[in-house]
């Protein structure tokens, strides 16, 4: 198999543009609904979420937990706006999300839950109470980390490669981040998937891996340019991508395999984390093969450096092989 990526590049660029466009539309719709590009979870908007399971050794678990009972109980506590879900196989678990409760409100709520639906299993309880400012801090620190990481990567790649490689690697990386964001915008709209702090971790990981992928291909292109400074950049890029193609596919496969295992067998919390990574890594492999490489060739041609041997060494005397 040999890919003729330079000739087909408008096609690859079109695919990416369409995917990104779809994602952006998703984000705009989300913005109208939640005032945020993605459906924000508890970590970002603040509030309290209580997840409890009825203790079936002490309680009567013949029927699932009655939603109406819980709803009226919450109404008594002035928490009509709470989002209530009955979960678990037998409907014995309950998830309640409310505004941020203080200690007294929370313990009252727990007590009245115990008295209305029966004893709760203390060992499988989960309570998250997040102040409204925590999310902003998280977002700010994540963004700062991201910007510093970008700067570090650009500097390193400019030193090891050249500035244009570094900047185009960042373009490819933004591509992957935006594709993942777009996917989760739609997941939020269609399946009510919320993003939490783990999602930020996922985005940051995608950044690291996406650069990794791109660097390997750029490394090969750089090597080809060194070996054949007289050849046109388009051919060298085509060769480089094809030489590393098996590696790109195999690496993506071996990285995605454990992630698929997490999606299938991992705990609830890690599922969407792993899904975000899978999306980001596949987008990363795609952008490294089809976007980063073609952009480099396009840029070199446009800036008149299509043949390295003619521009990089101005003195003809030193140009002789």
């Amino acid at each position: 198999m040999k890919l003729d990526i330079i000739r087909q590049r408008s096609f690859w660029w079109l695919i990416s543009s369409l995917v990104i466009l779809a994602g952006l539309i998703g984000m705009i719709i989300s913005w109208q609904q939640f005032s945020a590009p993605l459906r924000p979870g508890l970590d970002f908007v603040g509030g309290t979420r209580i997840q409890v399971t009825r203790d079936c050794s002490a309680a009567n678990c013949d029927a699932p937990i009655d939603l109406a009972t819980v709803r009226s109980l919450l109404a008594d506590e002035d928490l009509e706006t709470a989002v209530i879900q009955v979960t678990g196989d037998e409907g014995q678990s309950l998830s309640i999300r409310t505004r941020n409760l203080d200690v007294d409100e929370e313990s009252t709520l727990r007590a009245s839950l115990e008295s209305e639906i029966g004893p709760l299993d203390n060992r499988s309880i989960q309570i998250d109470s997040v102040g409204p400012l925590i999310g902003q801090q998280l977002f700010a620190s994540g963004l700062l980390a991201l910007i510093v990481a970008f700067a570090g990567i650009v500097i390193y790649l400019s030193v090891r490669f050249q500035l244009d490689y570094a900047l185009l690697a960042i373009v490819a990386l933004l591509h992957d981040v935006v594709v993942t964001l777009g996917l989760f915008a739609w997941l939020g709209l269609l399946l009510e998937v919320e993003v939490n702090s783990l999602f930020i971790v996922a985005l940051l990981t995608i950044v690291g891996f996406s650069v990794n992928d791109t660097v390997v291909i750029y490394d090969r292109i750089r090597e080809n340019i060194k070996l054949h400074p007289e050849r046109h950049i388009n051919d060298l890029v085509d060769d480089g991508v094809n030489q590393t193609l098996t590696r790109s596919i195999n690496t993506t496969l071996t990285t995605v395999l454990p992630l698929v295992a997490i999606v299938l067998f991992g705990g609830e919390t890690l599922k969407f984390f792993a899904l975000a990574l899978i999306a980001g890594f596949i987008a990363g492999a795609y952008s490294s093969i089809f976007i980063a490489s073609t952009l480099l060739a396009w840029w070199r041609v446009k800036s008149g450096k299509a043949v390295a041997g003619l521009t990089e060494v101005p003195q003809p005397a030193e140009e002789l092989p």
């Binding site: 200690v103 929370e106 299993d121 060992r123 499988s124 309880i125 989960q126 309570i127 998250d128 109470s129 102040g131 400012l133 925590i134 801090q137 998280l138 620190s141 980390a145 510093v148 990481a149 570090g152 990567i153 390193y156 790649l157 090891r160 702090s197 971790v201 940051l204 990981t205 950044v207 690291g208 891996f209 650069v211 990794n212 660097v215 390997v216 490394d219 090597e223 030489q243 590393t244 590696r247 195999n250 690496t251 496969l253 071996t254 990285t255 995605v256 395999l257 454990p258 992630l259 698929v260 295992a261 997490i262 067998f265 991992g266 705990g267 919390t269 890690l270 984390f273 792993a274 990574l277």
Partner: protein, 489 residues
Amino acid sequence: MGKQRLLLALILGLAIGAIVIISTIPTRLGLDLRGGTQLTLQVETTDKIPTITDQDLEAVQRVISDRVNELGVSETSVQQLGQNQLLVQLPGVSNPEQAQRVLGETAQLEFRAQSPGTEQQFQIENQILQQHQLELLALQQQADVDSQTLLESATNSDDATDSDAELEQQIQSVQSAIQESNRAIRDLFADADLTGQALTDAYAQPRQSGNLWEVAIAFDSSGAGKFAELSRNIAGTGRSLGIFLDNRLISAPTVDVQYAETGITGGRATISGSFDADSASDLAIQLRGGALPLPVAVVETRTVGPTLGQDSIRRSLYAAIVGLILVLIFMAVYYRLPGVLADVALVVYALLTLAAFNVFGVTLTLPGIAGFILSIGMAVDANVLIFERTREELRSGKTLYRSVESGFYRAFSSILDSNVTTLIACAALFWFGAGLVKGFALTLAIGVVISLFTAVTCSRTLLLVSLGLPQFRKPALFCPGLSPAPAKP
């Protein structure tokens, strides 16, 4: 070849060392895996104190640590978080109500005068308190031992439940006995209307003679008068001046008879005793913390029940093992002999990484496990790069030995550049990221560094050693479907 043998021995030694470390030093599990409550406290500014300095935060941290210790939970931790936040971890606590109430209060420091005729009772109460504290320590150590076996018992969790609950009850009762003692001691001292608000400074300083230390304290003008009166009342009587932080006695100095006339005037005093540098500065920090009228708010509480945590461990472990096995199978099937050797290197990698977590005291959380699983993928990537390169060289007609050597040599710059960029990203995440992000960046970075060693040095050594054996010296074991054998190995 001698060098390869040596390296092989080194790798073997490291792997055995890793197994020993993994089996002796327990892995530290985060609260999301073992169950417990994590609270984020925010120290808020007031009109009087518009900015919070590092010293302020340290002092509040000390006060909070004392309160956390009072809760009677073992293996707690209180860490500074950024400029004005504290992170409190309470393993095993699934009802954080008491903690939330106790921790979210402003510190209260009081100076009180011991009432006449209570000398003997003071001694007795002190002994009772010490007795209780020793009991508590013993119980907590027992609880620690129990919780260390948590990982092993994750698969049959119900057995431990009963003795756990019993232990918890014992701790609770000793806890309330200690509070009772503290209250009894406080009742022996009379209110002197002098609180931490009047205290302007407290610091440790070396004494003029000898190598002992003392704690100097300073009061504002209103406090100076009250302190003079308080000290005059008890000077030379043998009764103590009780300093209470959050109703708990932290120091009970006596006042020398020479101050019986005027009291200690001028608003300055030193507390001397058998302090060394550490204990003196500890008391000074406690005093400063008590003097700060900084309100503390609980801004985040996360509670995970113990069964829920065990469930996540189990599931994530399964996922990790299944993922790893799939990767191992893929490598062996696709890359043949080198793939199998890379698998061996990968197992060594997993052992070394887990051992490194234990040695560096990395707390393993859910994102941390994800980082680890992910770094397995990275470790494989280096080998994929090398073997693809080796195949290319074989196809271009080089000998087997040369192909392997140049496969490693040529792939190295790719491996280095890609790993360094990942490390740069990890460093940024570690320095600027919040808790979850930090743990993830750390495990990933450790993984990347170790994978540089195992994927390059380890698999290279294994390959070169196998090439020394004639039965392995067949190009078909490296690159199936290679058109007519290009050269003799």
